[in-house]
Amino acid sequence: MITIALIDDEPNILKALKRALGREHWNILTFDDPVTALDELTNTEVDLVISDYKMPQMTGVDFLKLFSKQHPDTLRIILSGQADLKGLMDAINTVGVYRFILKPWNDDELRLTIKQALAFSQLEKENRELVETVKKQSKTLQSQLSELNRLERESPGITKIDLNEDGYIDMSAEFEDE
């Protein structure tokens, strides 16, 4: 199940967000304090985190910086009531937020943005897994190549095999002199 963490110091915002996202079958975790969120989410897998920008304990950018250390692969969204250009640039440049959403949000647009974010996150995850697979395969190929080189050094020509039209090893050359 998809887990989404919401952080905002105004409990009514959390209530409204939870209500707006309630019809989707997502596991929604809410926190009105970023410090508690960091503490309680340490060992929880989170697919998406949506944080308020202006909070008393720390800004949303500072929270997401700390959160991304715990959860480097979790997608991050900032929610703000201020069209703060500096904050927006800070959020994009320093914590790599996926989107900056303004309050009050449109429920349909918010759900759509989250679905797009989750799809993007899934693609990134698959991409990371593919890179891992390629790395492993490359390692295997490297060790096979070094083994072939060792055999070739010990018995020159042993790795040079001719295949016939049917794909079988062609050894006719071995018997030509006989």
């Binding site: 110091d9 409204a16 009105d32 202006k54 008393p56 009531g81 303004l102 309050k103 009050p104």
Partner: protein, 142 residues
Amino acid sequence: MSKLNQKELALFKGLVALSDNAFPKKCASCGKVYQTANEFIKETERIRGLSGLKRSEDDDGSSIVELFRNCHCGSTLLDFFQERRDSEEFREKFGELLDIFCSKGVERQLARETLLEAEKGEISELIEDLGLDLSEITPNNK
């Protein structure tokens, strides 16, 4: 603090806080306390020049209004309201009273204005003269 314009005043006039416990309301960022819904509306700022009103649905599916306002410290606050004017029951009662006024010879536009005044709690001489009971639409009975 931004002054409310006439359009906003008209919009906010019909709002009724959903919960009795909603006020006093405290801003978590700066600690400012808003004693009433009226104070909350008047002493907070518009969000990027918008009214901050947003229609939504309550947990039971009923229609509610979310009012987003910025505290003077910049933190966004939200409270939930019911739109009194949208209440079917209210509209029905308002229509019935309008018909009663007209049946007593009061011109429709004057009757409408008098009822709107009564809704705000101002009982006019006309209502007293006609001896009408408006308790179902006046504020004390909401």
